[in-house]
């Protein structure tokens, strides 16, 4: 569906979660009043101890899970269910074994009103963006984990989303590919060539977070709340070996204490 960006709308928020509460069916309370917001042109990172609810939060922000209370808004409209404009890239690698790389990528265009030729061209382009030129007819079983994750990322690209929700997207990649892809995603964010406006990324890799993010949300406690929000103002490109970078890194580490149970 078409979404119009109203100029008179002062807010330039692309995606926001307001006052989110959530518990799983077994009664486990995951969140208590989470507020999070990603603005146009911003790279947002979420960090927090394992099991705190980062993947769950991404699912809520993508409309895959319904919060018990609170709302998620995309471009100012309330989100009730997943839409292609908000693309989720999973923590575990998700490829469909019965389709080759190109068909896997085309999956995210199937519901769009475009011809098959166009789809194929676009799938090729997406694949080459993640460095899989010439691997179009390989099946997932013939690929390494890192290649498969790149197929999943290419599939998300091909949907032309406004927002990427990325759950540890680079954890399965070798450092070289990961670095290339990080830069690529970051450049696309500001190129203006695609509709992509913002990225929300979950990561355990604090160096990676500090290299990329404009804003960092820190989740902790049970049920989880946002215990800290850090604006990263270091100029780019950021050098992970600089003193300033390391000072920031130390500050981030100090936030990651083991979760405490409230109540």
């Amino acid at each position: 569906m078409e979404i119009e960006i109203k100029n008179e709308n002062v807010s330039n928020s692309v995606l926001e979660g307001d006052g989110i509460y959530f518990s799983y069916d077994n009664g486990y309370d995951v969140f208590e009043n989470i507020n999070i917001r990603a603005d146009t042109g911003k790279f947002v990172a979420i960090i927090g101890p394992s099991g705190i609810g980062k993947s769950t939060l991404l699912r809520i922000l993508g409309g895959f899970l319904k919060p018990d209370k609170g709302i998620v808004k995309v471009m100012g409209k309330i989100l009730h269910e997943p839409i292609p404009e908000v693309a989720l890239i999973h923590q575990s690698i998700v490829t469909f074994p019965w389709m080759d790389a190109q068909e896997n990528v085309m999956l995210s265009m199937k519901t769009k009103d475009i011809s098959r030729d166009e789809m194929e061209a676009k799938a090729k382009e997406s694949l080459s963006r993640v460095g899989l030129d010439g691997f179009e007819d390989l099946y997932p079983k013939e690929m390494s984990g890192g290649m498969r994750q790149r197929v999943a990322i290419a599939r998300a690209f091909a949907a032309d989303p406004y927002v990427f929700l990325m759950d540890e997207p680079f954890a399965h990649l070798d450092e070289l590919t990961a670095e290339g892809l990080r830069q690529d995603i970051y450049n696309i964010l500001f190129s203006g060539e695609t509709p992509l406006k913002s990225v929300i990324m979950v990561s355990h890799n604090l160096t990676e977070v500090l290299e990329l993010a404009d804003e960092i949300y820190i989740l902790n406690n049970i049920p989880a709340t946002v215990v800290g929000k850090v604006e990263v103002t270091m100029p780019r490109p950021r050098n992970p070996r600089s003193d300033n970078f390391n000072a920031n890194l130390d500050m981030l580490y100090s936030y990651l204490t083991p979760p405490r149970k409230k109540k």
């Binding site: 309330i78 292609p84 575990s92 074994p97 079983k141």
Partner: protein, 540 residues
């Protein structure tokens, strides 16, 4: 028409019937499975019905079904549909249950990917659910094909009272050959049927290899289980039933909000809600129509007739007792042979390479077709040894033939699935053959054995149903036992005493269903403990 053409056409007709019904089961199963993952209400009705029907050998209800088809529809079509219905009920539960299990176990992440692109019902099925279910369906194809052939050949010719009904196929063609004593044609028919079966088995094996290679996830091992043993799912169904609505309601009141007037994204969900109601309505219609058939059958019998039926009940129960003894014997023999042979084949690659396809072909070759010839060839010899027990022995053999495969195959799969560490342990400890069996092999294949046993019991009843009363099995020879509930039902059908046949089937159905549900319950409790342990991890 030359006999050879006739035979070939008849074999093709029978094969087409079985394959067609299997395909019908597969296609309907996809939609029903999808309906049950979308609607809890539908799921609960669906699964309970499958469990009940799967636990009752439908062949015992065949007479009643037959009457319904012949009186309501009638003619050639009625007979054809009756035969098809019998085969359908023999193959369908496995396949439906397998598809349901496959749909239930599609990884959440894959579902999220197709949801992310807002796939509709047909696209979801086409790109995700159907391909995902292929390995599970393939695993269920072998038993379904065997079951299908077993029943098709007996259902192509049947007698009710003075009427003989038949529909074209190898079963009915053979029947005429036998009646006329055309020995050469009989041999030709058996041969051509054999060729068809072997061809089908080869195609199935190739397809199965291909399907496993192409459609399984990297982490997913193909599991061969005849449907029913997924108790965990059932447990889950009950757990959700008992707990979920309350927590949901509580949460609803806790977080209730006023109306929201903000602009929202177009909802696809409203349409899905409507689907949910449709599924629920289908479920209710199913239930009501089954109840209606049952009640109309019950009320169609006069009160005085019920008195007679109740008077006969004790002797029916005694017959059932005998039949349980027979089933027990068949099971025991099958298990012993399956364990030794299955183990041997599982550890000997060369023997396995030829042994498994051979056993598969033998099991798919419908016993009712060749059994009469086996009988007539061996009877004089067997009689000279066993005397009055000769018939009993043949009935047990027929039960064994129709059932052995399931125990064998489950056990063999179990041995194949044993972790390699177990083998290393047995080698380290230098265990002897019997200790290895007792301490390692049998315990670790236990779940497979159990699942084999429950399907075995089912097929054993089918074998008894055919064997306990087989008039004119060959020429003037008849096969019959002294006492047995299956025999009583058979005779009642043949003499047109439908009330007695139905009553016998009903008693049988209730007892078998109660037994197997109790059995299932026990297993379920076991599984539930496991389930709770897993849940505890989340809560901690």
């Amino acid at each position: 028409m030359p006999a050879i053409t006739l035979i070939t056409l008849a074999v093709l007709a029978t094969v087409a019937r079985v394959i067609g019904l299997i395909i019908l089961s597969i296609i309907t199963g996809w939609f029903l499975a999808y309906a049950s993952i979308k609607s809890k209400f539908f799921e609960n009705i669906y699964i309970i019905l499958i469990e009940i029907f799967e636990s009752v050998p439908v062949i015992t209800f065949f007479p009643i079904v037959l009457i319904i088809f012949i009186t309501r529809i009638g003619g050639t079509l009625g007979v054809e549909l009756a035969a098809d219905f019998l085969v359908f009920t023999a193959v369908v539960w496995n396949i439906w249950m397998g598809e349901y299990q496959a749909f239930k176990t599609v990884p959440r992440e894959m579902v999220e990917v197709v949801e992310n692109s807002r796939f509709g019902l047909f696209s979801k099925l086409r790109y995700l659910y159907i391909p995902f279910s292929v390995p599970r369906i393939t695993a269920n194809l072998f038993p379904s094909v065997s079951d299908g052939f077993f029943y098709i050949t007996v259902s192509e010719v049947f007698e009710v009272g003075i009427h003989t009904y038949q529909t074209f196929g190898i079963g009915s063609v053979l029947d005429t050959f036998v009646a006329d004593g055309q020995l050469f044609n009989i041999e030709m028919a058996l041969l051509i049927m054999g060729i068809a079966i072997v061809a089908i088995i080869i195609i199935l094996r190739e397809f199965s290899k291909y399907a496993v290679g192409r459609y399984t996830l990297d982490t997913d091992a193909p599991v061969m289980k005849r449907g029913r043993l997924n108790l965990k799912e059932t447990t889950r169904v009950f757990a959700v039933l008992s707990k979920n609505p309350l927590t949901r309601l509580a949460r609803y009141y806790k977080y209730r909000e006023g109306d929201n007037h903000e602009e929202t994204y177009e909802k696809k969900e409203k349409k899905q809600k409507r689907y949910k109601y449709i599924y629920a309505v289908i479920g209710v219609i199913l239930l009501i129509s089954i109840l209606y058939e049952a009640i109309s059958l019950i009320t169609s019998v006069k009160l005085s007739e019920y008195e007679i039926l109740i008077g006969k009940t004790p002797s029916l129960l005694i017959g059932l007792g005998y039949d349980y003894l027979r089933v027990g014997t068949i099971l025991l023999v099958s298990m012993i042979i399956a364990i030794f042979l299955g183990y041997y084949l599982a550890v000997n690659r060369r023997a396995e390479k030829y042994g498994i396809p051979l056993i598969q072909s033998l099991s798919a070759y419908p016993a009712p077709i060749y059994f009469p010839f086996l009988f007539i060839l061996t009877e004089p010899f067997i009689f000279s040894i066993f005397g009055v027990y000769t018939n009993e022995l043949y009935v047990l053999s027929l039960g064994f033939i129709s059932t052995f495969y399931y125990v064998f195959y489950s056990f063999w799969m179990g041995v194949k699935a044993m972790p390699s560490e177990y083998w290393e342990i047995t080698r380290n400890l230098k265990l002897g053959y019997f200790r290895k069996m007792r301490k390692v092999v049998i315990p670790s294949t236990f779940p497979y054995l159990i699942s084999g046993i429950s399907s075995t019991i089912n097929s054993a009843w089918g074998g008894l149903m055919i064997g306990e009363y087989w008039p004119a099995i060959y020429g003037t020879h008849s096969l019959t036992v002294k006492t047995g509930l299956m025999k009583t039902i058979d005779i009642a059908t043949a003499t047109g005493d439908i009330a007695l046949a139905a009553w016998g089937s009903l008693i049988f159905g209730i007892i078998v269903a109660v037994y197997s549900i109790l059995f299932t319950r026990k297993m379920m409790d076991l599984a539930q403990k496991k389930y709770v342990a897993e849940e505890g991890v989340y809560a901690a």
